[in-house]
């Protein structure tokens, strides 16, 4: 990195990472609005905003849970299968009757919680890397799905479909629910002991343990919550589709996309630093990009190219100046763990970037 590229940024050094994510979102929105205007459409029309917010909700649910797991220094690659499985369980249990909604939702969430519990136990008690544990768990669920379901299944009653279909003004109910869950997750992280311990364990598990934290518990809780939010996503998809589908999760690519959204939201892949609101910003960036590419009728394959480039470029921008300037984890205002005016030594940066790779 040349000196010239660092200088102009130095003034904004103290900006919190979540604020930076929303700045990036604002930039994306401005560019998108201009691009959409060039084809004679309005980016800020109620319909378009509803489209964007609808696009955010499913990935948002998955990414909230993924944020918790990544904060703990783990990963969850099994989410797409949990999404599919919970949509099937819900639709099969409902059988088209509104009376079955409550048991169906509870059944889907309970199964997901058990899956998350198993994930967490494998990671903490058997010391299997989260990447492998959840990859394996995903394969196990996939095997179950492929064996027992040949296609879509079940029937979702109209009452439940309303959740995916209605809205308050331009804001869909599903997005409101997603924001509520995000709020709960943010409160959980900041207000509860387990939430705080997640940062500690993700930041440095050894130090956390030496400080007297039971390191297993936060990781297990994070995995359980991640699977549960994935189940929310599955329920929402079931409500939108009217049936359960064994392929809906993997078609959405929620495993890698949710991880990308979390990292796009400023959370460090190695764990210990990040925020739920940053993740929501990351999800919003994806949703705006998708929306503008749909409006401009970009080739669907080209969309993937753009997504890939944006992910890398955005993370490159963050890490270039943000990696060591995250908000302090236990302080009210930043600056507790690094002095903002001192440039970190090169070796710090190297290890930081490597830690990012080696989940």
């Amino acid at each position: 990195m040349s000196e010239a590229s660092v200088r102009p940024l130095r003034r904004r050094r103290r900006i919190d990472s979540t604020a930076l994510v929303y700045l990036a979102l604002l930039g994306v929105i401005i560019v998108s609005a201009i691009l959409v205007a060039t084809v004679g459409r309005s980016f800020f029309s109620a319909g378009n905003i509803r489209d964007i917010l609808t696009g955010m909700s499913v990935l948002g649910f998955v990414a909230i849970g993924q944020t918790l797991v990544i904060l703990c220094g783990s990963l969850d690659l099994s989410v797409p299968y949990v999404v599919s499985l919970s949509s099937l369980i819900a639709a099969d249990t409902m059988k088209g009757s509104a009376a079955n909604i409550a048991p169906a939702v509870l059944a889907a969430l309970a199964v997901a919680a058990v899956i998350g519990l198993v994930n967490g136990l494998i990671v903490t008690k058997l010391h299997v890397n989260g990447f492998i544990a959840t990859l394996g768990m995903g394969l196990i669920i996939k095997g179950y799905l492929d064996t027992n379901y040949k296609g879509t299944s079940g029937d979702v009653p109209w009452e439940f479909q309303l959740i995916g279909a209605t809205g308050v003004g331009p804001i869909p109910v599903s997005t409101i629910l997603m924001i509520v869950v995000a709020l709960l997750a943010a409160l959980f992280l900041s207000r509860t002991r387990t939430g705080n311990h997640m940062f500690a364990v993700g930041g440095n598990e050894q130090v956390a343990r030496l400080s007297g934290i039971r390191t297993a518990q936060p990781i297990i809780v994070a995995h359980v919550l991640c699977s549960v939010t994935a189940a929310f996503a599955g329920l929402l998809l079931a409500s939108r589709l009217g049936v359960g589908s064994p392929t809906v999760g993997i078609q959405g690519g929620y495993d890698l996309l949710s991880i990308a959204a979390v990292v796009l939201g400023g959370t460090i892949l190695a764990g210990g630093r990040g925020s739920v609101w940053g993740t929501i910003g990351g999800v919003a960036i994806f949703a705006v990009l998708d929306n503008v590419m749909s409006v401009l009728q970009v080739n669907p394959f080209m969309k993937d190219v753009v997504r890939g480039v944006v992910i890398v470029a955005a993370v490159a921008v963050y890490t270039a100046r943000q990696v060591e300037r995250r908000r302090a984890r236990f302080g009210a205002d930043g600056g507790a763990d690094t002095d903002p005016d001192v440039d970190p030594s090169p070796s710090d940066r190297v290890s930081e970037s490597v830690k990012g790779g080696s989940v």
């Binding site: 394969l139 890698l256 190297v350």
Partner: protein, 368 residues
Amino acid sequence: MKIVSALVSPRGAVFLLLAVLLIAITVLNPSFAEPGQLMRFIQRVAPVAIVAIGQYFVIVGGEFDLSMGSVVTAQVVIAGNLVGQDESRTIPVLFLMLAFGVLVGLVNGLIVSFLRVPSFIATLGMMLALLGGVLYWTGGAATGNPDDSFRQIGRGGIQDVPVLDLIPWSVLILIVVLAAAIWFSKRPFGRTIIALGDNPTAAGFAGVRTWWVKTSTFILSSLSATLAGILLVGYAGVHPSVGRGYEFTAITAVVLGGVVLGGGRGWVVAAAAGAFALEALFTLLNFAGVPSTLRDAIQGVIIIAAVAYSAVSFRARRRGRTDVAGPPVDADDGPVDGAPETSPAREKESPPQSGATRPAIHSLEAEG
């Protein structure tokens, strides 16, 4: 005794697993042990093993390469579209594909080294962009069918060999790649990769040009994906889904081989053996008549079990070691949670710190 302890060690376990699987296959289907059948099996494993060898270097260097599957797909489609039915183009396109492989690896490595993007994200972006680009180029449909001379690389071989009947080119290529990988990882540069994966700060202070070492691992991995693509054109044909999932298969194989995610520990031969074990598992499930839909589930169980086994026994050994060597040298596993729980006999078996891995490896080498 030494061999037994090496085989049950996390590093040797993959060879034990492979042997058990191969014996089980032979019991179910005795004709599998015939040389010709065995050759076919190795031919089928070759692309997976080559990809695993490439992924090994990236993982042992402390990174991930998720773009391998897309590189395989891209190379397969490039071969299909550019070679066509024109035999004279085979060689130039081969060079073009190799150059493209180097370019992808270089871009991955430079993004990871200089833009400090975590490799998981950098190669994920590359995976999306490359696959999207290839599908955009082909319109999402399978196109082109390379000339037969090109497909011979993956399909053909040396004919009329006594006993073996046919030695496929891909088996020879695999042997060459594996030999080169072993040689390379014994060279100073290869050892530097492991040092970098174990402790990048220390490696940097020791004078390692980290960016170049890291970038070269990505180049190696995308070159190996290119090679796998060339082989796959031969018997899988040209289709945009050919490389799908290869990155996870490769990572799975490497991890089955006892290579630790996060870098610094692992042996390339074990990584290749992991690929063999994985493919042997599929073959076994096939012969055992397990429904194909359940294969994924069984694969998932085996992966978790294998990694859990190696992780748990690693920890057990380390506990024993810290007891002998006094205070723990590495901060990875402090003896916080109580007294070491290993018997004296176990301590004798597990050698001290620096030599912990070597004897196991050497005794295995001597064996096979």
